[in-house]
Subunit: 128 residues, 2 copies
DNA sequence: CCGTATCCTAATCGATACTG
DNA sequence: CAGTATCGATTAGGATACGG
């Protein structure tokens, strides 16, 4: 259960408690706008920093590096530096990254599928 | 493409541009830790405010109401007020909400599935 | 080209108190 | 019980500048 974590620490449950806490931590790392958009943007490609920046509308230099580091740390993204000058740095999804990408793709599909329904819901809500 | 939005407004592309911008807006609403955890927590149940609060470890009163409003506004969650005293307010997923829940469930499964791999990746990363 | 660091503003969040 | 409002404190995030 990702919705639960850190609970009391009866010695027998110490491990599952730790796992829950870790699960939540990972979930919190991943479940944010920029991280998910990056995963979606990389997809099956191998992209350079600047290419990613152009691919993801509105992301700042800082947010991109920050989230790429985060994804790299959690092993979702692999970073390859080509020691040329000027440097060439490429990003690609790892196996875990591609696995997550499947569900992120689902979220994107969902967004488009329900776009109209959501717009209507918003209008109803806002006029109340 | 959820990764793109607001682009230039050549009159022919005005509609798709608007749709992209809306898609991104919705995606940003939804792709946050608390919103996703709430969706996961509600699931197929009908839960009261306090039940939800207990279900989601670490969420504050404020974050819960705030995100419930957000989900309600976007038509993912249905709010039912029973005019008793004390009041009884129940939350359940709508059809769009349940559809999204499927993919959120996928994210949670993913988290548990790759827990070990991620922990290892982190250790490697942190010792560098 | 890519990354880090700094500064500064805006947004987030928790705690608390108050209403129906 | 559920919701709103307010207030500090923390953090996120953009802009900029500089180094490899």
């Amino acid at each position: 259960m990702v919705t639960k974590q850190l609970k009391g620490s009866a010695k027998d449950e110490a491990d599952v408690t730790r796992a829950d806490s870790l699960a939540r931590e990972i979930f919190s790392d991943i479940a944010n706008k920029w991280a998910l958009l990056i995963i979606e943007a990389v997809g099956d490609s191998t992209l350079r920093f600047t290419e990613l920046r152009n691919e993801i509308e509105g992301i700042s230099h800082k947010m991109l590096t920050q989230n790429l580091r985060l994804l790299e740390r959690n092993g979702l993204v692999e970073r390859t530096v080509h020691p040329t000058v000027p440097p060439r740095v490429e990003y690609a999804l790892t196996e875990p990254g591609r696995a997550l990408r499947a569900t992120v793709g689902g979220m994107c599909d969902w967004t488009h599928r329900y776009l109209g329904a959501i717009e209507t819901a918003r209008e109803r809500f806002d006029s109340a």
